[in-house]
């Protein structure tokens, strides 16, 4: 069973507009969430994270929102830039998991100039 779901395989936005990537999870024990960005032929790079004690975390153009009651998180990128075009992975972990992350399947974001 898939505990972390990214239901949109792809998303296309115009440069300068907002990109919103969504992620749902089923395991209520998850208490730490992360977003990663991956370019082709490279390893994923860490973008931003959020603990379950918060509902928002912001870092420059990137903001992550967490809705625990809905078991939903989203990544907002404002403004979107062509260099943001990549696959974005949502990941989650629970405190007792030996630091093991569970990843979603990813969303391919394309930002058009």
């Amino acid at each position: 069973d898939q505990q972390v779901k990214q239901n949109s395989p792809s998303l296309s936005v115009q440069e300068g507009r907002i990109s919103i990537l969504n992620c749902d999870y089923t395991n209520s024990m998850f208490d730490y969430f992360l977003w990663y960005k991956k370019y082709p032929a490279e390893g994923p790079t860490f973008l931003i994270s959020i603990s379950s004690i918060k509902d928002k975390n912001e870092d420059g153009r990137f903001t992550v929102f967490l809705n625990k009651s809905a078991k939903h998180l989203s990544l907002h990128i404002v403004p979107s830039q062509p260099g943001d075009s990549a696959v974005y992975f949502c990941a989650a972990e629970s405190g007792g998991s030996n630091y093991k992350l569970t990843f979603g399947k990813g969303t391919l974001l394309t930002v058009n100039p």
């Binding site: 032929a41 390893g43 630091y99």
Partner: protein, 112 residues
């Protein structure tokens, strides 16, 4: 700066060969991981290790084994490579506590 190094970027092996994928991290991290990435399937955990000589199975350990003799090095072994093990293999490490996972650049393995 954090660095996770995978020994090969591209590897081509034949069915039945024994394959070693090596990974080294220079951050003194306790935890190391091997994932594989396949189109439409995302990142799936094969094995991880939380200490030297300790290992735990991930979600898809079949056909793989691992070795962690030193803290900085974590090896993935394909005992007898098969074509369904053609994939991008990603090594990662992280410290204990609330922290991000740091990935290497990956090894694209093709088994023919």
């Amino acid at each position: 700066d954090v660095k996770v190094t995978q020994s090969s970027r591209y590897l081509v092996k034949r069915t039945g060969e024994k394959v070693f994928l090596e990974c080294v991290q220079d951050m003194d991290h306790e935890n190391m991981f091997w994932y594989r990435q396949d189109p439409g399937l995302g990142l799936r955990l094969i094995y991880f290790s939380y200490d030297v000589k300790m290992k735990e199975k991930g979600d898809i350990p079949e056909g793989y084994s691992v070795s962690r003799e030193k803290k900085e090095r974590f090896s993935l072994i394909l005992e007898s490579a098969s074509t369904n093990q053609t994939s991008m293999y990603l090594c990662a490490s992280r410290s204990d506590g609330v922290s991000a996972l740091h990935f290497g650049n990956g090894t694209r393995l093709t088994v023919t």
